[in-house]
Subunit: 210 residues, 2 copies
């Protein structure tokens, strides 16, 4: 079988989710850097892979896939990887948690969005920082409250890591990168520590793939 090929960038949160999922499912892959700082994502070669000009793009199973959560679902369904619980209530809960990050937090803090805010305000780094603080904090605070309701354990949903954890961990990294105060978000902190101990997460960390 052809080796899976991941077009990614070391610090991209969406790529990081997919790296965790590939590792967790035991799928070997080759990583190809799309250098976001150099603007590779806007080049013809990458737009041919993904008209959105975003990463990650995963070539696997003879398919070329875009959108990190669609990719994670593909891996889960085709490898029976157990990224979602088996019961309907659990599946809905894990997906809702994942989407708090993947829909309402991360896209709002995407570089292309924040750059537009900075351009419109001419506010430079102060505006960028304020934006990150506001929206990351809002997302993680809601996530923490939602964690209280449902199965407790070492991970977001009991003692097995899954889709919600794949989304949470890169967002926590971004929170720390921007100096967002999360001292009171103790459930999230405990889960982040549990995830850091797992090889699938550790191998996917930006510092490991840079």
């Amino acid at each position: 079988m052809t080796e899976a090929m991941l077009y990614d960038y070391w610090r991209s949160s969406a790529s990081w989710r997919v790296r965790i999922a590939l590792n967790a499912a035991g799928i070997p892959f080759r990583s190809v850097t799309v250098d976001l700082l150099a603007g590779d994502q806007r080049g013809d070669a990458h737009l041919e892979r993904n008209p959105q000009g975003f990463i990650p793009v995963l070539e696997i199973d003879g398919l070329r896939l875009t959108q990190s959560l669609a990719i994670v679902d593909h891996i889960d369904e085709t490898r029976n990887a157990g990224f979602l619980p088996g019961d309907a209530a659990g599946r809905a809960r894990v997906r809702a948690l994942a989407h708090v990050v993947a829909m309402d937090t991360h896209p709002v803090c995407n570089p292309s969005v924040v750059s537009e805010v900075v351009r419109l305000t001419d506010g430079g780094d102060a505006v960028r920082e304020g934006w990150m603080h506001w929206f990351i904090r809002r997302g993680l605070a809601a996530f923490e409250r939602m964690l209280a309701d449902g199965p407790q354990g070492r991970f977001c949903h009991g003692d097995r890591p899954g889709l919600a954890d794949f989304c949470l961990i890169p967002q926590v990294y971004n929170a720390d990168r921007w100096g967002v105060d999360r001292a009171d978000l103790t459930r999230i902190d405990a889960i982040a520590r549990s995830c850091a101990e797992l090889p699938a997460f550790a191998k996917a960390h930006p510092d490991s793939v840079r």
Copy 2:
């Protein structure tokens, strides 16, 4: 069985997706308005339902569900509703299309985000309109290009409406509401016309539920 109860607002895109899905699956539901203009979403009663303070919230099957796409997945999986194709390639394609809208377009244009842009710029309606134009156009243009690759038909993925159509239609409505030029996006326009003819979509339209 207890009737399903949807906490929604007539013009909320995320609520609209869920209304289409409920209609398409033939699930009767009662709608309870959370008046976004009056700030109901920030009241204690609603924060108790959803710590994010967002709509929709769906009470169904003895569960209280949040996040529109997690809700649509719940309906699909528990009712075998066929919102996704049966093949892995099709599922990944439909999800990716859905996420172009639900992750990269709609959340960036959420009122709470745009209000923050307006506040930071003190730019009023001109900034609001410019923001909507830029990000809605960006999302729909990518969506149009992605439609070209894969099964053609009356809907986003062949001749059966599904998850991608549920996400697309409210976004097209928002494009028109803000005066976004989409004359060149002919595939999207044809799909929007096909969807408008279906009762599940027509009954869910803001003008029908207002």
